[in-house]
Amino acid sequence: MTMNADLRRERAAATFQPLLLTHILDGGPERTRRRKEIEALVLNDPDFQHEDLNFLSRSQRYEQAIRKSSLMVMKLREYGIADPEEIFWFKRTCIGNVPEPLGLHFSMFQKTIETQTTAAQKEKWLPLARGVKIIGTYAQTELGHGTHLRGLETTATYDPATQEFILNSPTVTSIKWWPGGLGKTSNHAIVLAQLYTQGQCKGLHAFIVPIRQLGTHEPLPGITVGDIGPKFGYDEMDNGYLKMDNFRIPRENMLMKYAQVEPDGTYVKPVSDKLTYGTMVFIRSLIVGDSARSLSRACTIAIRYSAVRHQSELKPGEPEPQILDYQTQQYKLFPLLATAYAFHFVGAYIKDTYHRISGDINEGDLSELPELHALTAGLKAFTSWTANAGIEECRMACGGHGYSRCSGIPDIYVTFTPSCTYEGENTVMMLQTARFLVKSYTQVSSGQQVTGMVSYLNDLSRQRIQPQHVAARTVTVRINDPVSLVEAYKARAARLVEAAAKNLQAELNHRKSKEDAWNRTSVDLVRASEAHCHYVVVKLFAAKLSEVSNAAVRAVLTDLCLLYALFGISKNTGDFLQAGILTSAQITQVNQHVKELLAVIRPNAVALVDSFDFHDVHLGSVLGRYDGNVYENMFEWAKKSPLNKTQVHESFHKHLKPMQAKL
């Protein structure tokens, strides 16, 4: 089928070459080439063809996912693909963006065995895991306990007589709940439990627990395991529950790289617990990248559809215009497009930083870790909240059709939205960042200098000496200059961190307990963290511009960067006004400039989403198809609906006909 005329026109009118921007997003032309090469392996492979998942039941979707995971294991081996990023490209092309029941086996289960076992344990378990002789998952969360790890109730009591641990789920609330792949797929689990030895509780430790019989896959005696039922999305995933009743495992099944229990029950303490930070930073940085990708996909669908859809009249007597020509539509979508780009650069930054310092971490230098840990916690929350709301906004911008599963956006949303909760609930994450910010503020107040992303707090003490400084700042903000806008965001973050820290101090002065004071300030603290993260995003986006060599691409990215920064101000004018960073007159200018930028970006909108370079398979959307042939394909799609399997639905014979006969 030919390309929709509207989309063809849009693409012809772009002022830059999308491929050059794709290279930037991928990290270079060579990586773009390799990515497409790997994607082609999947796209051209008939084994990976499948029915539209929207028409399958949960059990069927689970089965499809298992089939594809199994196939993938084989194909990856066949092609010799081992680089994590290349595996990621391969996976997302063959299983789309749905979760994978075997996902936790490849990530958390293997990674934990790699990092937390002794040499002997590694030798035993790693080949089994890598060769998929066993399938494992990672069981931490319990029915009654999530983010607060110390509250977990599962127990592992050491019995020196038999040199075994006895695992128990003592209460309903202690049942393991939610782990992916636990319900139906796994035959082993790494279980987090409170260790008891010699009558004392030694806190949480990890144990490898077999849960299903090899060969028959039946649950082992003492194990109750199953699927937790349907969720908001994640149909493929058998999130599971696990209840253990005096279940015994050998002593060697405790992961003993750090802490150990000796045969007689003596407990040997671990050296440092900061090391686990590393993994958390890594996983949260992946969520930042996922925020960017998920939002990019939603933007791609909404913007292409808005170029294809015509509605109402703008000028009397003329044909219905593309809905992308309405200012309100641009105002919904373009700031999100700018946000998607911003988050791409933030995700890349965190990943690079993590790789840069992970060498230091391995050598025991943990000095940079607290800041990176605090930063990623906040950015995980900031980006996932924003992307979550943005995906919904994109769906709403597609009107009624956005609500149909054929738009693909409902799927993006339900797959993405749990990231606001998993790997650290967002509010809790924001408060972790706040703790770091308040600590840094306290250091500055006591005369020390702080470094890194919080170094702007150093300026606060100077400002106090020169009270005119803040007022003088107002006129210096140039709303056309990204660098100047970074300063404005910096000032806002500084003021909100300071306000939160002062409010916290005031609560403490009321002789409240530390915890009470913290709780009573937590709304302020979250605001401060948000402002800090917002500043970091604007800063990283602005910094990226200078790295772009192609003038046309740099120009369009500069427009997006300005839009991101100015839109953020227009949505938070109160902060900038209250702190005296901007005047009301400047705010009016900011609002006006946002609208001007919408018109500037309009001709490049389709090219900007094309640059994300999602294949139609990645989008899974009829509305967002590259060729724009939306309506024909919606009809084709609907015909496959299960309700259309027969011309006359069985409920006619069962209910309607008998009723009408009786009347």
Partner: protein, 674 residues
């Protein structure tokens, strides 16, 4: 006492005793829950009737929604048809009629999970748009379900903008018939409920052509399926549009017409008629039709928006006193998550909004009843105002409530994502309300058009409708508050809201004028101001909501603690709105930076106050466990036990064919066999 009165509604639970963490919340209520329930219902008698209807429906196993979270689209659809058929019988048995006081509670008792909702719209459109003769012919058939109707307006390529519809109805004088056609794919009817599988008839909106001349959009009754065997009629292509985010029970459909002929009498002709010779005649005023559209927007607020919002608040708040997480004080047990300020900040403003919207809905209903009486007296003066209010409030309330339900969902941590929490389906259902019956942005622009017009009129000293008279009294000035307790004065914050609304409307009007004076075309100027116009319309609705809440509180009886707690909620609703939009209030210095800190302080203080009554405030909504259908929100608070028991019923726990087919070969390294 509240406990004893309501405990009988939790009988459906197998679990028995109330979780002590929830029980303790109910013992400290500062007001009488039963009295508040009666207030919400509009009197104790209404409460009694409602409970009787709910009891009659929910004790009938045919209406059970148990296990619906595990069902496929086909199963949900079949259940909805079964319920709709059974409902006819039930109504007869119970002596309920469509005009009786019980009727409006049936839908609530069924949680909307019933087929043939569009059948009602079909009937209403015939009653409103049909001639007396047409009404006499079709309504009895429809009332007895001898036929099943639908309402086909939206097309694949066309939604809110009716003039853009492409379906055609060409009058053929020779045979005295209309010939209906779907000329291209974007003209296919798309989305109408009950049309995919159930309907035998539908009202089709099409461009009327006589002698080659187009007369615009008109409604036609078209039979689409056989009354004998339900097969599609000749020339008809129809089916289900496929899975959506929710509404699994509804067969939203598509319809393609190819030279479908219907008799001349099938054009609904109360207002427009095509005579046998092809003469087109307009008669009477169509304004009543216009009124119907606005009435629908108001009528959906209660069942489709407030009910899910109140349910979501009930679930999230009850769960938040059962769930314990981390420690607030060292050495103590883990704290209830509702004791965290951040959790209160998420949930309590949504609770306040539920009450604010309940009261504004009452206000709108009264206004509409009055408008309807006027219209029956052929006085159409109130129409523009009613239209503007219905559009704006539909948009503001659906948007705000949708966001609120999502906040409730995410405030329940991981378990909120389980369908068994009930929250995902509340969310996916309520969010459709932002689109149907008028896309929200478009509706807000309609309100804005009215506001700009009124502002211009008021500035020129002309009279304006009552809800916008404040636009005439533009006064500059500053907020007089001196300390944080001043912000608990309704006069202070209502005035602030009014100020912002006036500022946004007047500055947008000025901007429009400027653009036009500097040579911009009217439509261009309008499009360039639409972002501001939307903000202005929202500010207007927000102001009216706050004002109405404050006035309602004023009139409440002071007994039984009701007025006091409602006053707290009103304050919270108002201050939260300022807290979220500080920029709008700071912009021209109406509220100063120092005053804004007072607003924040006052707002945060209120959270702790309302926290104590949070559970009684949701208990007052009086939802049964069956209505909530939530493992997290049940009256007894036995959250974990219920989640565990319900999960075991999942079909995924019945068998696992994937093991034999794929996992076993994988584990045995027999991958090549896959």
């Amino acid at each position: 006492m509240a406990l004893l009165e309501t405990s009988k509604y939790s009988q459906g639970s197998v679990l028995g005793s109330v979780n002590p963490d929830l029980a303790s919340e109910r013992q400290t209520a500062s007001f009488c829950v039963e009295k508040l329930t009666a207030l919400l219902d509009g009197g104790a008698e209404q409460t009694r009737i409602r409970r009787a209807v709910v009891e009659a429906i929910q004790s009938d196993p045919v209406f059970s929604s148990e296990n619906q979270y595990f069902q496929t689209q086909n199963e949900r659809y079949e259940a909805a048809v079964r319920k709709a058929v059974h409902l006819q019988k039930k109504m007869h048995e119970m002596g309920w009629t469509e005009n009786g006081p019980e009727y409006k509670y049936i839908y609530r008792a069924l949680s909307g999970d019933v087929a043939f909702l569009l059948h009602r719209v079909f009937m209403r459109s015939i009653s409103v748009l049909g001639s007396d003769k047409q009404i006499a012919k079709w309504i009895p058939l429809a009332a007895q379900l001898r036929l099943i109707g639908s309402y086909a307006q939206t097309e694949l390529g066309h939604g809110t903008y009716l003039q853009g519809l492409e379906t055609t109805a060409i009058f053929d004088i020779a045979t005295q018939e209309f010939i209906l056609n779907t000329p291209k794919i974007s003209a296919m009817k798309w989305w109408p409920g009950d049309m995919g599988r159930s309907a035998t008839h539908t009202v089709v909106f099409a461009q009327l052509y006589i002698h080659g001349k187009c007369y615009g959009i008109h409604p036609f009754i078209v039979q689409i399926r056989s009354l004998q065997d339900h097969s599609l009629c000749p020339g008809i292509t129809a089916g289900d549009i496929g899975p959506k985010m929710n509404f699994e029970a509804i067969d939203n459909g598509y319809l393609m017409l190819k030279n479908v002929r219907i008799p001349r009498e099938n054009m609904l002709s109360k207002f427009c008629e095509v005579r046998p010779d092809g003469t087109y005649v307009r008669q009477g005023s169509q304004k009543i039709n216009y009124f119907t559209m606005t009435a629908v927007r108001i009528s959906l607020i209660s069942d489709e928006v407030l009910t899910p919002l109140m349910k979501a608040c009930t679930i999230a708040i009850r769960y938040s006193v059962v769930r314990r997480q981390s420690k607030l004080k060292p050495g103590e047990q883990e704290a209830k998550i509702l004791d965290y300020q951040t959790q209160q900040e998420k949930l309590l403003p949504q609770l306040a909004a539920a009450y604010a919207f309940h009261f504004i809905n009452n206000y709108l209903q009264e206004l509409f009843d009055r408008g309807y009486r006027e219209i029956q007296r052929k006085n159409f003066d109130m129409l523009p105002e009613l239209h503007a209010l219905s559009s704006g409030f539909k948009a503001v309330i659906t948007h705000h409530s949708t966001a609120a339900v999502e906040i409730c969902l995410r405030a329940c941590g991981g378990h909120g994502y389980s369908l068994l929490s009930g929250l995902p389906s509340l969310y996916t259902k309520i969010l459709a309300s932002c689109i149907y019956e008028g896309e929200n942005t478009i509706l807000l622009l309609q309100t804005a058009r009215f506001l700009i017009k009124c502002f211009m009129a008021a500035s020129a000293g002309q009279p304006v409708p009552p809800s916008v008279t404040y636009l005439a009294a533009v006064k500059p000035g500053k907020c007089p508050a001196k300390n944080k307790s001043d912000f608990l004065s309704p006069d202070i914050y209502t005035e602030a809201y009014q100020h912002v609304a006036v500022r946004l409307i007047s500055s947008t009007a000025a901007k429009l004028q400027d653009l036009i004076q500097s040579g911009a075309k009217k439509y261009d100027a309008w499009n360039q101001c639409t972002v501001q116009l939307v903000q202005a319309a929202k500010a207007h609705c927000h102001y009216i909501t706050v004002k109405n809440f404050a006035e309602t509180v004023e009139k409440l009886e002071t007994k039984a603690g009701i007025q006091r707690i409602m006053k707290h909620l009103c304050d919270l609703f108002a201050l939260h709105g300022i807290f979220l939009n500080t920029g709008a209030f700071l912009h021209d210095g109406y509220i100063s930076a120092a005053q804004m800190d007072m607003v924040t302080a006052s707002y945060l203080d209120l959270l702790a106050v309302i926290r104590k009554d949070a559970v009684p405030l949701v208990d007052a909504f009086d939802f049964t466990d069956k209505s909530l259908n939530s493992a997290l929100g049940s009256y007894d608070g036995q959250v974990y036990q219920r989640l565990y028991e319900w999960a075991q019923k999942s079909p995924t726990n019945k068998m696992n064919p994937a093991y034999e087919r794929y996992l076993k070969p994988l584990l045995h390294n027999a991958l090549s066999k896959l």
